[in-house]
C-alpha cells in the first residue's frame, strides 16, 4: 500500500464518497484505502445509514381537521401570500429600500420574515424607538423584532446605559447600567417603555433574555439612541456616539464621524475622526491619495482652528522632550485640568512606568485610581513590578480582589452573558491571586505564597502561577509537590525547544527524584490532559462571522469563508485592513504552525495582499504549504470585526471562531482541541 493510501481520507472526502460525489480519480484511491481500512468503511457505512434511518423515521399524519379548516378559511375569504421564488427575490429588494427609507415597523417586519435563513440568524432582529428622534425627558416606546435565538422567550430585557456629555469614555467593554422589561405581542415583537433623563445625550442598548444567557447586540454594534434638538441629533449626542461606539467597528466609526460632520461641519473632532477613518478604510491608490490629502487637511485644521483637539495640542507640546520633561508638562496639565482629566492621568502613568521612575509611578497611580477606580487592579499589578512598590501593590491587589468577589450586575458588559462574567471574574481572580502570591514568594514568605497561589491555580490554568507555586513548594522543602506542579509547567509549554530545556533543567535540579523516565512522562501526559480540559472550559463563546463573507483563491475564485474553514479544527491567520502588513512580517509566526499542520489541523491564511508570484515564492521559501486566500475588500476581516493585523483564530469543528491573542495561544488551543477530539474518539 502506498504511503498516501495509508493516510486516512479526510472527513470531507468520506462524506463525498457516501454521497457518491467524489471525483473519479480520488474515488479509486479512497476505495482502495477502504478495502484495507475497517474504520473508514464503518464511517462511510454510518454516514449512509444515518440518511437511510432518517428517511425511515415515521412522522405524524396531518391532523384530521386540517382539510376542513383549510376549506373553512378559503370560504371565509382568508388569503395568504406564499414565499414562492419570485416573492422571495422581491422581498430582498423591499427590505433594503424599507430600511433605508425608515418606513414603519410592520412593513419592515413583513420584509424580514421573508429573509433567507442564512441572513435571518445573522441580522434579522431590529430595535426601534418611538419617537425615533427623542429629546431629553421624553418617554420612549421600544419595539424589538427578535432574532431567532430570542424569539421563544416569554420576556426580554432592554439593557443599556445613558451618557451625559463629557462622561469618561469606558475602557474595555461597555457597561450596562439598567434593564427595561419588554413584553411579547401577538405579532412576534416585544415592547416596553423607558424615559430619557433630562441631562443625558446618548444611550446604547442590547436585548437579552431574563437570565442573560442570550444577548442580541446587533452584531456587536449595539443600538444607539441620540438626543435630538431642532429636528436633528445634538452635537453632544453625535460626539458621544463617536467616542463610545467607534472603537468596536471601523465601518461604524466612519459612519458616526460622517454623521457628526454632516450635521455639524465645523466640528473639529468629527472632521479629525472622519479623515482618520477614511484613510483607514481606503484601499490601494485611494489610500495613498487620502493619506496625502489627510496630512494637508490636518495641518490646515491645526493652523486655523483654535479649538483643535487638546490631544493634538498636547502631542505637539510633548514632542522631542525627555520622559522627565514630558512628566513635568503633564503635571502642569493635571493642575490646570483641576485633577480630573483622565487622558492626562493615563498618559502620565504610562510614561512614568516606561521611565522606570517608582516615585512618579506611585504618584500617578494614586491619581489614576481616583479618576478610574475600576482600573485599580491593573494599576496594582503594574506597581507589583517595582520592588520598592510592593506594599502599595499588595494593598491594591487585595482591594481589587474584594471588589471582584462581590458579584455586581453593573460590572457585566453589555455583550457579556452572566456565565461569561463569571468566567471573566475567575480569570481576573486567578491573575490577582497569582500576582499577590508571586509577591509573597519574592519576599520569602513561602507558606503565605503557597496558600495564595493555591487559590490562583484553583481558578484555572495559569503557567506563571503554577511555576511560582512549584518554586514556592521547592523553597519550602516539599520537592514532591513541587515536581507535581512542574509536570504541569512542562505539559503546558507548547514550544518543543523550551520544553526540552525546562525538562533538562529539572533533571539536573532534581536528579535524585527523576530517575523513572516513564513515570515522569506519564505524569506530564496526565497534566497535559487536565490543562486541555481547563483551556477548553475557558475558551468562552465562539464568534460567528456576520453575513456570508467570501474570500478569493489564488485563481480568483470566490469561496465562502464557512466552506474554506470546513469541518476540521483549523487555525485561521487573518491579516487584512489597516494597518496594512505584508505576509513577510509574520512568516515566522506561520512557519511555527507547520507542526500543527502535520497533526492534521488546517492552517488557513487570509490576506489582503494581492496574489503574486512573489507571495508564492515567499511561501515556498518559508516552507509553507497551506493555502492562502485573498480578502482584498476585507469581507472576511469585517465579518469578524478584525480589521488590523494579524488576528489569530482557532475554528472548531462546528465553525465557531475562537479568538487567540497570539500564535502561541492559538497553537496551544488548537492542540488542546485536537487532543480533546482524539480523547473523545
Amino acid at each position: 500500500m502506498s504511503v498516501r493510501m495509508r493516510i486516512h481520507p479526510s472527513y470531507r472526502e468520506l462524506n463525498r464518497l457516501a454521497d457518491r460525489a467524489l471525483d473519479e480519480e480520488r474515488l479509486r484511491e479512497v476505495r482502495q484505502h477502504l478495502g484495507a481500512c475497517q474504520s473508514c468503511r464503518n464511517e462511510v457505512a454510518l454516514m449512509r445509514n444515518l440518511g437511510r434511518a432518517a428517511r425511515e423515521i415515521s412522522h405524524p399524519s396531518p391532523p384530521d381537521d386540517a382539510l376542513s379548516q383549510i376549506m373553512g378559511r378559503r370560504a371565509a375569504g382568508d388569503r395568504v401570500i406564499l414565499p414562492v421564488a419570485s416573492a422571495l427575490r422581491a422581498s430582498s429588494r423591499r427590505r433594503a429600500i424599507g430600511i433605508a427609507a425608515g418606513i414603519g415597523g410592520a412593513l419592515l417586519a413583513a420584509a424580514l420574515l421573508l429573509l433567507p435563513a442564512s441572513e435571518a440568524s445573522a441580522g434579522a432582529s431590529d430595535l426601534r424607538f418611538d419617537p425615533a428622534q427623542p429629546e431629553p425627558g421624553d418617554h420612549i416606546e421600544v419595539t424589538y423584532l427578535p432574532s431567532s435565538a430570542l424569539a421563544a422567550e416569554d420576556v426580554l430585557y432592554l439593557r443599556g446605559a445613558f451618557r451625559r456629555a463629557g462622561d469618561p469614555v469606558p475602557r474595555g467593554g461597555l457597561p450596562g447600567a439598567f434593564r427595561v422589561e419588554l413584553h411579547p405581542n401577538p405579532n412576534g415583537t416585544f415592547t416596553g417603555t423607558l424615559q430619557m433623563p433630562d441631562d443625558v445625550v446618548f444611550g446604547y442598548f442590547a436585548v437579552e433574555n431574563k437570565p442573560a444567557s442570550k444577548i442580541d447586540v446587533k452584531n456587536g454594534r449595539f443600538w444607539p439612541l441620540l438626543a435630538h434638538g431642532d429636528g436633528k441629533p445634538t452635537r453632544d449626542a453625535l460626539r458621544e456616539q463617536l467616542q463610545v461606539l467607534d472603537k468596536n467597528d471601523v465601518d461604524f466609526g466612519l459612519t458616526a464621524a460622517r454623521m457628526l460632520v454632516k450635521h455639524y461641519p465645523d466640528d473639529v473632532m468629527g472632521r479629525h475622526r472622519k479623515l482618520s477613518y477614511e484613510a483607514m478604510t481606503a484601499i490601494g491608490k485611494e489610500l495613498e491619495r487620502l493619506n496625502a490629502l489627510r496630512e494637508g487637511r490636518l495641518l490646515a485644521l491645526h493652523q486655523t482652528d483654535h479649538a483643535a483637539p487638546a490631544v493634538v495640542r498636547l502631542d505637539a507640546e510633548l514632542e522631542d522632550k525627555t520622559v522627565p520633561e514630558q512628566l513635568e508638562v503633564l503635571e502642569g496639565e493635571w493642575m490646570r485640568a483641576r485633577f480630573s482629566d483622565d487622558y492626562i492621568v493615563a498618559r502620565a502613568f504610562r510614561l512614568a512606568r516606561e521611565g522606570q521612575d517608582p516615585e512618579a509611578v506611585l504618584r500617578w497611580a494614586r491619581r489614576h485610581n481616583r479618576v478610574r477606580p475600576h482600573e485599580a487592579g491593573d494599576i496594582a499589578e503594574t506597581l507589583a513590578r517595582f520592588p520598592t512598590l510592593r506594599e502599595p501593590a499588595k494593598d491594591g491587589l487585595r482591594a481589587e480582589l474584594r471588589r471582584v468577589e462581590v458579584a455586581a450586575a453593573e460590572r457585566r458588559y453589555l455583550t457579556e452573558t452572566t456565565e461569561e462574567l463569571m468566567l471573566r471574574d475567575r480569570l481576573r481572580v486567578r491573575s490577582l491571586f497569582g500576582r499577590l502570591g508571586r509577591l509573597l514568594f519574592e519576599e520569602g514568605r513561602y507558606d503565605a505564597a503557597i496558600d495564595t497561589l493555591e487559590l490562583a491555580i484553583r481558578e484555572g490554568w495559569d503557567p506563571d502561577a503554577f511555576r511560582s507555586l512549584a518554586e514556592s513548594y521547592a523553597a519550602a522543602g516539599d520537592t514532591s509537590e513541587a515536581l507535581t506542579l512542574f509536570a504541569y509547567v512542562v505539559a503546558g509549554e507548547s514550544d518543543r525547544v523550551a520544553r526540552r530545556e525546562l525538562e533538562s533543567a529539572l533533571q539536573h535540579r532534581f536528579a535524585a527524584l527523576l530517575t523513572d523516565e516513564l513515570e515522569w512522562s506519564s505524569r506530564v501526559a496526565e497534566s497535559s490532559k487536565q490543562i486541555d480540559r481547563r483551556r477548553i472550559e475557558e475558551i468562552g463563546r465562539p464568534i460567528r462571522p456576520s453575513g456570508n463573507p467570501t474570500v478569493h483563491t489564488r485563481k480568483g475564485e470566490r469561496r465562502a469563508l464557512e466552506e474554506v474553514v470546513g469541518d476540521e479544527i483549523s487555525v485561521v491567520v487573518l491579516w487584512a485592513g489597516p494597518p496594512s502588513l505584508l505576509l513577510e512580517a509574520i512568516k515566522g509566526d506561520l512557519s511555527r504552525t507547520t507542526s500543527l499542520h502535520a497533526l492534521g489541523t488546517n492552517i488557513i491564511t487570509i490576506t489582503e495582499n494581492q496574489a503574486s508570484p512573489e507571495l508564492d515564492q515567499l511561501m515556498a521559501d518559508a516552507g509553507l504549504t497551506f493555502p492562502v486566500f485573498y480578502d482584498q475588500r476585507w469581507e472576511a476581516a469585517r465579518s469578524l470585526n478584525s480589521l488590523g493585523v494579524p488576528y489569530y483564530y482557532v475554528v472548531d469543528r462546528h465553525g465557531g471562531f475562537y479568538f487567540a491573542e497570539d500564535m502561541n495561544r492559538a497553537i496551544r488551543l488548537a492542540q488542546s482541541l485536537l487532543r480533546a477530539a482524539d480523547a473523545a474518539a
Binding site: L46, A117, D567
Partner: protein
Amino acid sequence: MSDKQAQSPEQEALLRAVARGESPALERLYTEHGDTVYRIAFRLTESAADAKDVLQDVFVALPEALQSFGARGSFEGWLKRVAVRTSLMKMRTRRRRREISFGGLVGSIRQTERPDPVDRLELERAIAELPEQLRAVFVLKEIEGFTHDEIAELLQIKRGTSEVRLYRARRVLRTRLGRR
C-alpha cells in the same frame, strides 16, 4: 430531486381547476400532497402546531400561488420548495415548541440486518436537537432528497456551504449517537 418532469394532462387539468378556486379540486390535491407538505414542515419546524399552520397556509394560498407556478417543471418539486420556504418563515416568526414524536418508533429499533444500524429513536431526538441551520440542510438532503444546488437556492447559501453543513450535521449526529 428533478424538476424537469412535465405534468400529465390529468394533473394539468387538476391544477387549472385548483387555480380557478374549485374546492373539490383543492381537496383532491390536498389528499395527494397534504402528507408531503406536512412531513416537510414537521421535520423542519419540529413542531406539530407549526407544521399544521404551514400545511394550512400552503393550501389556503395554493389557488392564487399556482398562477405563479405556470405549469413549468414538476408540481411536486415546486410544492416542496414552497413548503420548505413557508416552514423556514414559520421557524423564524413563531415561538418554537419542540415536540418529538416517539409513536410507533420504539418497536422498529434495531430490526435491521445492516452493519451499523442506527437507533432511530435516538436519531430522531438527535435530529431535533441539531442547530437550526444544520437541521435544515440534513432534512432537505437526507430525508427530502434535495440536491445541494437546490438547498443552496432554497436557503440562499452557496453549494459548498450546504455540503459543509451536511458534514457538520452528520458529525454532530454521530457524536450524539455515541459513535466516533
